[in-house]
Symmetry: C3
Subunit: 380 residues, 3 copies
């Protein structure tokens, strides 16, 4: 039954981040964004044999994003869909996790908002930074080993200033089992985060993108700490990883520091995960375990006037005693160059990493290698 | 090879349901919609032990929808994509069913249209109602147990009036195996439905959304009956469910009734599924069976002036003798409250259910529990 | 934290292929397209028993496509997502391949461009033609057996004319393992293609859609040849098919010819795949093999003034000696009719095929059948 549509005035448009369309009666805003990262990467056979051992030729990320408001600008939504194989976490979970973000948020006032849905937990800064706002082709191994990722639940956000000291408080109560879980037991995850910005807010929200693209005229600093307690976690990384053979309580402590000034940026993170009795076993004797241990990441960069940036990074992850025969200590030394063509939306990135894998226990052989990556990121 | 695009006049826009864009030469209309349902739900250990047994914290539905016309307003299309895990039917089928609707329809005249593609069959009213137009967080157990869902095939739609008696005739010939099936045998499904509207059409199509949001000034009634014959069905629910170990012929009878008046709404449904020899067995002795039996759903509501609605529901599903040692009789008593902020597009919903599970045969223990749900639905 | 959006002037719009939206500062173009193919097809029990053996009732393809430019019209992107089960290659690969195209291209000048990402390799013409630009409901069995599909890598495109002889050179270095592969060994795929257009370019790019919809006023011809060398291929068809039990080097040779004039179109293709030792075996004795052999496709059509087209096709695929006890020689004789309502964007298609399956070795029985297809394609 064909319906004759009712024609209305043109909408309003915005282009700041994506294509935004606002209905003329302001009943809703629909902002459309996409981005993709196309990557070529090579790993050498060893530190001395530079033959190529493996090639990573793939679209690492490809995302569609819809955000905006409905009914009132206080009620905002965020939908992000991920279509690349790695983004779907298919190989870990055995099902396609297309939904990354599905969040509905209400701003009670300019300081306080509350949300229900699936999105990132308030974890370490590098994780909360969008993967589209990184200064190297990807996050560090510290992040990939210890981050608390996304989860479904209730989230609280509060920011204010106390005698000139800006601070942010964030908290979440979530299922603890990660994205797109059908049903959970009663063991939930409780996460809290505090950020202090002693010299005031960063320009254009610069505490949540990498590199000093805003070329801060005055030094800006942020300290952040996060604590998360994931009860009855069923996956090796809590919200991430393969499914354990038995549930475990997992605690995560995080601390991070960021300084930006005049094109310079320096960031440091310390992440630590603990769990009692981290190794689980099934009837066949197979083992799956919580990666307990800690890691540090240090990252510094300078942005030249021509929008070339040079970046250095040192990362280390170190397993605790319980799992030192199962996991190596890994250290990475990285130098990278990024050319920002249109900020983080369109950029060319390359980095070279020397990786050391060291067994802290057992008799397995240590091994080192070189890694070279090249990446184009494009989006709106 | 960069192409210089040809610039054209601005399109026409509509905002009634989603964001509609019509090319100035009327060659096509593209209407974009999305919606999501974020849910927190809790099930108690038993009727007397109110400890939480399981938590459902997830995005239950997240849909993108594109509809409009091509070339002529008589030729319409409907595409709906579903990205949540439950919507993909992944756990039942073992593959991701992203496509929900993919329909091309032609309106021969104002009374008659014909379509080819995948969409809902003309089954029970609660199923044909969009999941975005429900007055409780989800449909009843009667629907989930007996509905005939979506299928791919040819569909016919006819509506007219006979001496003031409005009626709708719908029919479908479809594969019978549900969404996104690669290939079928020659056993198809044949479905027919008749609706009678003795007091005229509902305001704004109100016979296909729940709750009397239109506050009908005069009583409106619809009677509907459906018969479906699914030959050589290969799934436990015909178009739904896990795959049987052998095919079966499935018959489904449905009858429904709807009354709306002045904020009040009352709906009743009776669904019945039959199949000869419903249990199938594989070589290992595993059983999969057609759920044969019947169910009733009764639902009543009143919408207050402040757009709060109170809803009551009683649902019962009862297995036939063949499977009474495999499936319990289930009864649910539900009360719910919904606050419509922007009609069905933006609403808050909560309901509380007492569930009785009763074995009609065998010696397994009966068990009852409480269920509490909270849900936000947002979309355009 | 609700943000007040900055309102900007209206964008520019294009409607040539999809809905194109260009930001007023020309910082980006976003062009949105979709299309779907809804199909009903029937295969007979045999050549003499016309009872229906199987029914194909499904949405064969459903695609979303985003393309445009970012920052400069020289830098273009192409994203294509596929949501139908067959398009996901789920049954072959065991994971959902939603991403079809994810390409970023830079036009160095009007002749030369370079790209990084995932898209079709420069293979045979029928494969490089969009599946939305076919004159029969689907491509030939020659194409499905021997094509080199999509891959991730670097692609080069060059076109020019030499004393009036138009030519196109294309080359690609790619992973060789097909869409959405996580990691590859160092054995890559190298592909090159040359096209010669002795009578000049086709109208509206008509060398890359089927049927002479442009009704070329003068005869136009294109010759194409492709060579591809896929080292350490891990799938039965190189970029396609199930995973082999051991890697193989695969070589593919292709030649194609196209003539269009005054509503007439004639196309021919020859494809040949070779691999040393094509059969691989696992520990259980299961076999998976590279389909080595060759095939020819001949296709002719005439487009009447009322935009009905009649099409004839003959296709043959013939396995090499190595696998003649595993694969039959197949021949198909097809006649089809297509009604173009709005060019290739909206069309009705039907074809009837007689298929002969002939064993070249072994004692299995030959078998023949009839195939009838009906398809609606709609998109913008």
């Amino acid at each position: 039954q064909a319906q004759q549509p009712v024609i209305s005035p043109s909408p309003y448009f915005t282009y700041g981040k994506g294509l935004g369309i606002i209905s003329p009666d302001s009943l809703f805003m629909l902002n459309i964004r996409f981005r993709m990262q196309n990557r070529l990467a090579f790993v050498s056979e060893s530190e001395s044999n530079l033959d190529i051992k493996s090639v990573e030729a793939r679209t690492r990320r490809l995302r569609l994003r819809f955000d905006g408001f409905i009914y009132t600008t206080r009620l905002t939504y965020l939908i992000q869909l991920a279509f690349s194989r790695a983004d779907m976490d298919y190989d870990d979970t055995g099902f396609p996790n297309v939904i990354r973000d599905a969040m509905i948020q209400y701003s009670v006032n300019e300081h306080f908002s509350i949300g229900l849905g699936q999105t990132k937990l308030p974890g370490n800064r590098q994780r909360v930074n969008s993967s589209g706002d990184l200064q190297l082709p990807d996050r560090s191994i510290v992040n990939s080993t210890f981050n608390i990722d996304r989860d479904f639940g209730v989230q609280f956000y509060y920011n204010n200033a106390l005698q000139g000291l800006n601070y942010v408080l964030r908290a979440a109560i979530s299922s603890g089992d990660g994205r797109n879980i059908t049903s959970s037991d009663r063991g939930l995850a409780y996460t809290g985060r505090l950020e202090l910005l002693p010299f005031g807010k960063f320009t254009n929200g610069g505490d949540y993108f990498e590199g000093d693209l805003a070329r801060e005229p005055k030094p800006k600093v942020s300290f952040g700490i996060t604590y998360s307690n994931n009860q009855n976690a069923i996956r090796t990384g809590g919200q991430l990883g393969k499914f354990l053979y038995a549930s475990r309580d997992i605690q995560t402590n995080m601390a991070d520091f960021l300084l930006k000034y005049n094109g310079w940026s320096f960031a440091a993170e310390y992440l630590r995960r603990t769990a009692a009795n981290p190794i689980t076993t099934n009837e066949d004797g197979d083992q799956r375990f919580v990666y307990v241990g800690h890691g540090q990441n240090f990252q510094g960069s300078y942005l030249f006037k021509n929008n070339f940036e040079v970046v250095g990074r040192y990362s280390q992850v170190r397993p605790d005693n319980d799992i030192q025969t199962l996991e190596e200590k890994i250290q990475q030394y990285t130098v990278g160059v990024t050319k920002y063509i249109r900020g983080h939306r369109l950029k060319l990135q390359s980095d070279l990493t020397y990786e050391e894998n060291t067994w802290l226990a057992g008799s397995a052989a240590n091994h080192n290698n070189w890694q070279l990556r090249f990446q184009i990121e494009a989006g709106i």
